[in-house]
């Protein structure tokens, strides 16, 4: 039996790597992939605590998180395609239409 702490620490490590990816990368596609990493870290924590409390509620919530991830990926990638068509770039720091 692995202590619940270990899963939580793994989740926070994965979350931090995802946050670093979102904050530092320029490519919008890799920023979206980092968001998937963050959502996976959340899922690890949800499943670990669901196991700890011996109830499936956390796992059901993790399924909803995966649903959200699918919706987010579909809309985000649609945005990237529209963006690439208009601006010819996928770099987050070159998309500065609202900055003056």
């Amino acid at each position: 039996m692995i202590p619940t702490e270990y899963y939580i620490f793994l989740g926070s490590g994965l979350f931090t790597i995802g946050v670093i990816g979102v904050l530092t990368r320029r490519n919008v596609l890799i920023i979206l992939m980092s968001i998937e990493l963050i959502l996976n870290a959340v899922n690890i924590n949800l499943v670990a605590l669901s196991q700890y409390f011996k109830s499936v509620d956390g796992q059901v919530f993790a399924i909803f998180v995966i649903t959200d991830a699918a919706a987010e990926a579909a809309v985000g990638l649609g945005l990237i395609i529209a963006l690439f068509r208009n601006k010819e770039t996928v770099n987050a720091d070159e998309i500065d239409l609202l900055k003056w």
């Binding site: 619940t4 980092s34 059901v60």
Partner: protein, 169 residues
């Protein structure tokens, strides 16, 4: 013991491939490393006897979302990105912020060596059949959220089609 060794191997694989996801120059390589991370996280679900979630992870994440990602990576021009800087100008500040975040979370979790300070485990038996229990919860207690999630997926599908359409008239 075997469980702990499996856990350590899976978490090292997950963390190392996650680092590769955010450091590779080529977006295709990042996507492939992300697949490795997702498989490792799926293994961790399996280790916690969440078999249904493991299947969902493999079918939906690895089979669905990653294919979508690879499609879009191939659609946008990757040859230009190979010659450009990988990281944004603010990367040192961002790195310090993220490490501080990890330190704060770790300090809060560590709690002076006393562990997580969780409430006591309830004295019930864990459901024996994971998939059956998850299905029962989804279609009995969580009926309304399931319907809302289906509406969300419909909206996301329509939104993605509208967004990726060539011209809005």
């Amino acid at each position: 013991m075997l469980e702990l060794i499996t856990f350590i191997i899976l978490s090292v694989v997950a963390l190392v491939s996650a680092v590769f996801v955010i450091t590779r120059r080529n977006a295709v390589h990042s996507a492939i490393w992300l697949t490795v991370t997702l498989f490792a996280v799926g293994g961790i679900f399996l280790l916690q006897h969440a078999e249904f979630l493991f299947a969902v992870q493999i079918i939906l994440y690895v089979g669905g979302i990653m294919v979508l990602f690879l499609f879009v990576v191939m659609l946008v021009d990757i040859d230009v990105a190979l010659k450009q800087a990988r990281f944004a100008r603010q990367w040192p500040v961002a790195l310090v912020t993220a490490v501080l975040l990890l330190a704060i979370v770790g300090y809060a979790l560590y709690n002076h060596g006393k562990g997580l300070n969780l409430p006591a485990r309830p004295m019930v038996n864990a459901p024996a059949q994971n998939t059956q229990a998850v299905g029962m919860a989804l279609y009995q207690n969580y009926m309304l959220p399931v319907e809302i999630a289906s509406v969300l997926l419909l909206v996301a599908m329509v939104g993605a089609v509208i967004m990726a359409k060539r011209k809005l008239e």
